[in-house]
């Protein structure tokens, strides 16, 4: 949808991002994120999917400076972000807000909802014209209204709230400083399905209404399909496929994306499989440890169609047109 628009001027442009952690009990390092490039256009919702340990959360954390970046560049609104300059960092951190997975873990248990929502304003020392207590209260109420919380929640504590309500507080808090980009890291995976949709629809509506972009990090492919204009698939620290969501889900090119899609339990597929042969691709083995990287394609040890070349030669990103990219020798 926004694919051409963002090509002109992406809001966020990350190039060759590398994040390394010291390997425990060994010499050397573990590359949690291994050369990730991604961009998010203004008003675009971009999905980053992958299984646990693939580096999707670390990518998000590295963008906002929560973990140190070993290599690579981050441009925001056409400006190179130097994560070491405090002043620039403050502005950047105001423009980019994060909503985390576990709303109980990300809210201060001793802070009532109203104060939690207003806290970012104090952290960023912005007044937004909110000179008096009363004006701030009105702003908090306004934000609570945006995310669908009744005014009487103002004085309540996080433990008095349900999971869905807490996540609404997390979103209101992130939106308090009027960010241009929201990084939502598994924002609904801790919630029940009937509540998930409420939060997903809320995020979708707000991104249009307040026109912010969103990097949506999740492991649930169906949720990403519903939310995102474009989707990036990560495996072992690398982006293995990227395309517009409708293209990626209808016509996946990388064998990992195909296996991932076929592994998702889905009502329609499940009912269809009862009348015929199941088409599920079952991968062999587990995600390999990143302490012993394989020389070729990282997916080769589990790939049903791997050949000798895959084990020795690392595949380059292959462009399949219209922004569709896959990192596989067989994708062309």
């Amino acid at each position: 949808m926004n694919i051409h628009q963002h090509m002109d001027q992406p809001l966020l442009n990350v190039q060759d991002l590398v994040v390394e952690f010291p390997a425990r009990g060994r010499t050397g390092t573990l590359k949690a994120v291994d050369g990730v490039s991604l961009s998010v256009g203004p008003n675009e919702i971009v999905g980053l999917v992958g299984e646990s340990g693939c580096g999707k959360t670390t990518t998000g954390n590295a963008i906002v400076g929560l973990v140190p970046v070993a290599f690579g560049s981050i441009d925001f609104a056409g400006k190179r972000i130097d994560l070491r300059t405090a002043a620039e960092m403050r502005q950047f951190r105001r423009d980019v807000q994060v909503v985390f997975q576990d709303p109980m873990g990300s809210l201060n248990p001793r802070l009532p909802v109203g104060d939690a929502i207003l806290e970012p304003l104090f952290v960023h020392r912005i007044h937004l014209g909110l000179t008096s207590r009363e004006l701030r209260r009105i702003r908090a109420m306004e934000l609570m209204g945006l995310v669908g919380l009744a005014p009487d929640f103002f004085q309540r504590y996080p433990h008095e709230l349900s999971g869905g309500q807490r996540q609404r507080v997390g979103i209101a808090r992130a939106l308090a400083v009027r960010p241009r980009l929201l990084i939502a890291d598994e924002p609904v995976s801790a919630l029940d399905v009937s509540i998930q949709v409420q939060i997903l629809n809320l995020l979708k509506d707000l991104s249009l209404e307040l026109s912010f972009a969103c990097l949506f990090i999740a492991h649930d492919l169906a949720v990403v399909r519903y939310m995102c204009d474009r989707t990036l698939v990560m495996y072992l620290g690398e982006i293995v496929e990227e395309a517009r969501s409708d293209v990626l889900f209808r016509n996946p090119s990388h064998p990992y994306t195909r296996a991932l899609l076929s592994a998702v339990p889905d009502v329609d597929k499940g009912l269809a499989s009862r009348h015929g042969k199941s088409e599920r691709i079952i991968l062999r083995g587990e995600v390999p440890s990143r302490l012993d990287p394989v020389p070729g394609c990282p997916f080769a040890p589990r790939c049903p169609q791997a050949v000798e070349r895959c084990r020795t030669e690392k595949p380059e990103a292959v462009s399949l047109g219209d922004g569709h990219m896959a990192r596989c020798h067989f994708s062309a």
Partner: protein, 341 residues
């Protein structure tokens, strides 16, 4: 027994043979005693499981599905748990009346459990081999426990069973840990395997492996499976019959195809509409407004009435009874959705 893991195609869906009833739950009601305050969390739940069949119990968190599952082998501590009404008949015997000695034979021996988080199901300071042999020795011969343990580990598809015997749980990945938990559950050749969200803590590609394993094992060993899940996609994949639970009560029961393709209860329909699908469904998904009521604050009539899009006056006053909605399909609703929708 040779378990070959299919690399490209999983086992096709298998319809169960019509066998005798293994477990018959009638009117099961479970409460918790908290001082002078009793809370009923499961009300009047009835269902049957036949030998070799896979039954799914679905619902959102707090709806009582795990409590129902745990009470089948009376794993809830009594007190605070108590059973004011209902019977659980397992292979012709009433479980709720059994003595502790009789219960020990049933638990693990005939009804085995696999829980959501394998990390907490295994003892972190004991080797896998010890934990597996412990389960075998509790119900079966002591002599060849080691041999049997190794056989079980290969049965669940762990590559190097000998090495695995010596490993501690933390040395294994989540998927491998869950395989170990399944091996322990299978140690005594149970008639019924209760799998409570067995794959929720696992990644999807690993989840697919574990589900495939359960299907293969079930076909080989002929055990019945009670699958507790909130994931309707899983239900469509593996179960024969499904029971939908809401706020402690069953609201709809039937064959999976009927219930998922043409739900009769507004809650089931709402639940189906809130599940994002992989197949493109354009447009906006509808959530279910509001939240599940707490068992302490249940409304007087139908528990779903406050959230129901087609609520009527009588729904708020009287609890509806289960009524037939088709062949083997029952629903607890005054105005069930017609099959044509």
């Amino acid at each position: 027994m040779n378990i070959q893991h299919p690399t490209s195609n999983s086992l096709p869906f298998q319809h169960p043979p019509r066998r005798s009833v293994l477990l018959d739950v009638q009117g099961l009601t479970v409460g918790f005693r908290n001082g002078r305050d009793d809370v009923i969390v499961v009300r009047d739940v009835s269902f049957r499981i036949r030998e070799g069949e896979t039954i799914a119990l679905v619902g959102e968190s707090g709806c009582g599905k795990s409590v129902t599952a745990l009470s089948l082998a009376r794993l809830l501590p009594e007190p605070p748990a108590f059973y004011p009404a209902g019977v659980v008949i397992f292979r012709g015997r009433e479980v709720l009346q059994m003595s502790p000695a009789e219960m020990r034979v049933i638990r693990g021996g005939q009804i085995a459990y696999v829980f959501q988080d394998p990390g907490t199901a295994l003892n972190p300071v004991l080797r896998i081999g010890f934990q597996l042999k412990e389960a075998i020795r509790a119900h079966r011969s002591r002599a060849d426990a080691r041999q049997e343990a190794i056989r079980l580990l290969s049965l669940v598809g762990l590559p190097d069973a000998e090495a695995c015997m010596r490993a501690y749980p933390y040395e294994l990945s989540g998927g491998m840990q869950q395989r170990v938990v399944i091996a322990i559950a299978l140690a005594c050749q149970p008639k019924l395997l209760v799998a409570d969200e067995p794959t929720t803590a696992l990644d999807v590609t690993i989840q697919a492996q574990i589900l495939d394993l359960l299907k293969v094992l079930q076909a080989e060993l002929g055990m019945a499976v009670l699958l507790i899940t909130h994931n309707l996609g899983l239900v469509a994949d593996v179960a024969h019959r499904v029971h939908v639970m809401y706020a402690g009560s069953l609201v709809e029961s039937g064959d999976v195809e009927q219930v998922l393709a043409a739900p009769s209860h507004p809650y089931t329909k709402g639940l189906l509409d809130t599940v994002p699908r992989l197949e493109a469904q354009e447009g906006r998904m509808q959530g279910i407004e509001g939240a599940v009521p707490s068992p302490r604050e249940l409304p007087p009539g139908c528990p779903f009435a406050p959230r129901c899009p087609q609520v009527e006056a009588q729904c708020r006053k009287t609890m509806p009874r289960m009524v037939a909605s088709g062949k083997g399909h029952i629903v607890r609703c005054f105005c069930p959705l017609s099959e044509v929708t």
